[in-house]
Amino acid sequence: MSLIVENVSKRFDTKHKKTHTLDRVSLEFKKGEFICLLGPSGCGKSTLLNVIAGLEKATEGRILLGGKEVKGAGSDRAMMFQESALFPWLRVIDNVEFGMKMAGVPKEERREKALKYLKMVHLTKFQNSYVHELSGGMRQRVALARALTLDSDVLLMDEPFAALDSQTKNILQLELQQIWWETKKTIIFVTHNVEEAVLLADRVIVMAANPGRVKKEFKIQLARPRLLENVDLVYMVAEIMKELKEEVEKVAKAEYDSDWNIEKDTVLSNTSDDMGIGL
């Protein structure tokens, strides 16, 4: 089942202002592909993902999944958000079962499958806990398990690790690669972190802002599992960073006063552990 984004434009018209968030975005995702959408913040990454999920309607264009036009949200496109979006009134196990409950799966079967996926994210010990008893990383694991139970071909992830500390993030990135490998899902992963994109993706799509559109695509043909220290990976990160820097600079110029200069206020040239966090 391939996923096609066909000529999608999105405008938001509110009382105060009109924004042109996406401009004729066309993309094609192959089954089982891992794609990262990368771009400066505000370029429309989340909006594009929401349109694919069916949570937002495209102003123009359409989304095709397996040849059929997508109308509204559905469990054939599971989604994970930056916040876990777990329900605080349910125990972990019931949270994981939620999607299956909506689909009318019988109790026994639900429990069994929920446990299977909880095991995949290593949290069976916490099945009876409530959400507030879990750390941020554990919540995202539960959210991942909950998304996996839907058995969708497509998994949409909107900066799911952005709020986590870097150690937890690194572990989850590795595990996600593993799970993607086992489940063979098509994953569309939004991030503003270049390293994360190169580490995870088969293909990185760099987006431009105002209006949001596809700027350039990079195929990442590195062996897996990938490590951040790998020389080829570092090279690739630098390549993509060049492309992105131009975009970030443009956005910043539009936002800040005219005397702002990226060389003076270096946002990107420091290569600490979290490149691109200042985007």
Binding site: G74, S75, F81, F87, G99, K101
Partner: protein
């Protein structure tokens, strides 16, 4: 209790600021209390009052929920009626009594009306704000898991708004309780409020005090045992008590 007795001794016996019929001693109150229990006055009054408040409160829940849901559903109503309802809620419900008496006569109907109107608005406001404050993210997440329409209402919106709805119900109960007492005192039908008034009419300060104690104990009991438990349960589940 000891403080009360001490205050009574000093105030009445030594300083003679109060006469013994304006400030009762705790022993007199307890004696009266047993007297009222003994001749069944209290039992009958409590039953009558409880019956009234349960009916009145139930009516207000039904109407409050309907108003709350309607406001959430229709934006137009929201814009025009929310302020009105907020205003109505600040009006002590006993102010409705003249209306109620005109409409229902001086009796059961009037008291029910005053009880119901006392808590209806608090409940409808709680329902409305509870639903409006459900994080949109929960609903979006549920949609991507294949839920829609009534399923979202049942499985997400209702449980998510429960903490706010419960505190609204609790507040509604306390309004209803006050309205009940005021209504009974003014209309003199059988009930706790009326026993209190009889005490006043007979200048029996111990009886007044005894009934006040009963009113406080009953009010607290419902508040703490019923609503308190439900609230505590939700708060620990959600982790709202931390920090």
């Amino acid at each position: 209790m000891t403080i009360w007795e001490l205050v009574y001794r000093i105030g009445v016996d030594y300083l003679e600021i109060w006469k013994s019929y304006t400030f009762p001693s705790p022993f007199a109150v307890i004696k009266t209390l047993f007297g009222l229990i003994g001749d069944n006055t209290l039992g009958i009054a409590v039953l009558a009052s409880m019956k009234r408040i349960i009916v009145g409160y139930s009516i207000s829940i039904v109407i409050g929920v309907i108003i709350g849901l309607t406001i959430v559903r229709y934006k137009y109503l929201d814009e025009n009626f929310s302020a009105l309802i907020l205003g109505l809620q600040t009006l002590p419900s006993i102010c409705w009594l003249p209306f109620a008496i005109l409409w229902y006569g001086l009796g059961e109907g009037a008291i029910m009306f005053v009880i119901a109107i006392g808590s209806t608005f608090a409940i409808s406001i709680a329902i409305e704000s509870g639903i409006k404050n459900v994080p949109p993210l929960y609903i979006r997440a549920a949609k991507t898991m294949g839920a829609s329409g009534i399923k979202i209402y049942w499985n997400v919106i209702i449980p998510a708004s429960l903490p706010s709805v419960i505190s609204g119900l609790k507040q509604g109960w306390s309004f209803a309780w006050r309205a009940l007492m005021a209504g009974e005192m003014l209309t003199a039908t059988v009930g706790l409020g009326q026993v209190l008034m009889v005490g006043r009419d007979l200048a029996d300060i111990s009886q007044v005090m005894a009934v006040m104690v009963v009113i406080i104990v009953l009010g607290l009991a419902v508040d703490k045992i019923i609503f308190g438990r439900i609230e505590a349960n939700i708060r620990t589940k959600w982790g709202l008590d931390r920090g």
